[in-house]
């Protein structure tokens, strides 16, 4: 019993036919060919599938595609603005916040969510807030440093906010 869903992904209206059991991550990867969003586990621990859903970082393996009908989704492919990387992407590159790269898209999208709610987190807060994203390569040291650097870069240049995050960007974080 397939259902039609319509959603805005990285700013573009998309439509698809899905079984109700189809996970959002599978719809993104298989239906829309946005393979930057990864699947690393099946119990919701690893966070490799993290995307922004209506501005919030969520695990797209814990959302049914039908639940995202009418929603706005942003994936790692939609984070850079033109040729300019998002400050978080840039900081991950600058500070060697990745090795094999598999957890990286989810890590970056989670970081977008973290900084949206708390634009100036301490290292300890970053570590706490990254609990839902596992990395087996980096020992997290450079990931934490990258998020911290991105936070300070973004405070210097608020205009670099991604389109998806900016809509709800001021809603919280007090």
């Amino acid at each position: 019993m397939r259902q039609t869903i319509r959603l805005k992904v990285n700013g573009v209206e998309r439509q698809g036919e899905v079984e109700p059991r189809t996970l959002l991550v599978h719809f993104l990867r298989d239906g829309l060919n946005l393979t930057g969003t990864h699947v690393g586990c099946d119990t919701g621990q690893c966070g490799a599938c993290t995307v922004l859903l209506n501005g919030d970082a969520v695990k797209s393996c814990m959302v049914l595609a039908v639940q995202a009908d009418g929603a706005e989704v942003r994936t790692v492919e939609g984070l850079a603005v033109g040729d300019a990387y998002h400050p978080i992407q840039q900081a991950f590159w600058d500070l060697h916040g990745l090795q094999c790269g598999f957890c990286t898209p989810g890590m970056i999208m989670a970081a977008v969510g973290i900084l949206k709610r708390n634009p100036n987190p301490s290292d300890e807060e970053i570590r706490e807030q990254l609990e839902g994203n596992l990395c087996r390569c980096t020992g997290y040291q450079n990931i934490v440093a990258a998020v911290r650097k991105a936070a300070s870069d973004m405070q210097g240049q608020p205009a670099a906010q991604p389109v998806g995050a900016s809509a709800a960007g001021g809603a919280s974080g007090e």
Binding site: P20, D42, Q45, K59, M62, D69, G113, E131
Partner: protein, 292 residues
């Protein structure tokens, strides 16, 4: 990970939700309510749940929102964790909810997960059930026979089991406000290192007399037994007393009385009981410190 397939409904009103639940599945399959999905969807993927149909609450606006009601705060069942802890009303009147919810899962889970979903799922290691017990929550449900209210202490029946009927849906939860003089709250949790669930979690509300003795306390414990429960023995043992070490040590000895203690490879029942005692002590001391 692929779930078994199911029918999916996303009605716009509570009336339709109840009707769908009441109708059930023509082939006798299970019809389940889908709220934030942060507990249910993993179970579907692992095929540990295989419902015939899901009724999604996401379009039911009347299930969301936060309001003040007399001596309490009412939170719509489909209100997310983030919406809850971001609410100035909740922050002011029920800081225990903020402290506990901030320790639920991870930010992604807190963005999607809902207050009602957590309580209705009744995970024995969930954080919110302990808080519901400590904040004397009233759980409001609607079913084919209309509305009813269930006290938190009567709501959690067993492992993943509540006193809701299959065709009932949780609509809102009223938590007792604690923004009163000489009242403090605390949630203390031993976090499972992998799942993030509470191996043991203790939520405490402490009301002090002017002289610093305990006027009354309410304590909810999760993780230790098959369902969240109130530690009435401890509450009585500290009433009227100063929370010194001797009083606390003797009082918390009874915290798991009447509980059927869980045991797993991470924590034996013996260790869980010990944690319950330690965390109860810490929660009471922290709550009392905030009450002063």
């Amino acid at each position: 990970m692929y779930a078994t397939d199911f029918a999916y409904h996303a009605p716009a009103s509570l009336r339709e939700v109840v009707a769908l639940l009441q109708q059930g599945d023509p082939n006798g399959g299970e019809v389940k309510v889908l709220a934030g999905g942060q507990s249910l969807i993993p179970l579907l993927k692992l095929r540990m749940a295989a419902p015939a149909a899901l009724v999604d609450l996401r379009n039911v606006a009347e299930l969301r929102g936060i309001s003040e009601e007399g001596d309490g705060v009412v939170i719509g069942a489909a209100t997310t964790y983030f919406q809850t802890i971001d609410s100035p009303v909740v922050q002011r009147r029920c800081p225990l909810l903020v402290q506990a919810i901030s320790q639920v899962g991870d930010p992604q889970v807190r963005a999607r997960g809902t207050v009602g979903g957590s309580l209705a799922h009744a995970d024995p290691a969930g954080d919110l059930p302990a808080v519901a017990v400590a904040l004397d929550a009233e759980l409001r449900a609607v079913g084919p026979n209309g509305q009813r209210t269930i006290a938190a202490k009567d709501f959690f029946v067993d492992l993943l089991t509540t006193s809701l009927d299959p065709a009932e849906v949780l609509t809102a939860v009223k938590f007792a406000a604690t923004d009163r003089p000489h009242t403090g709250t605390s949630y203390q949790k031993h976090r499972h290192p992998a799942s993030g669930y509470a191996v043991v979690g203790v939520a405490a509300v402490v009301m002090l007399n002017d002289d610093g003795t305990v006027q009354a306390a309410r304590i909810g414990v999760t993780g230790a037994g098959a369902h969240a429960a109130r530690a009435s023995g401890v509450e009585q043992a500290i009433a009227g007393k100063t929370l010194d070490d001797a009083t606390l040590t003797s009082a918390v000895a009874s915290v798991t009385d009447g509980m059927e203690l869980m045991s797993d490879t991470y924590a034996s029942s013996e260790y869980r009981a010990h944690l319950a005692r330690v965390l109860t002590k810490r929660a009471l001391l922290d709550a009392a410190a905030r009450a002063r």
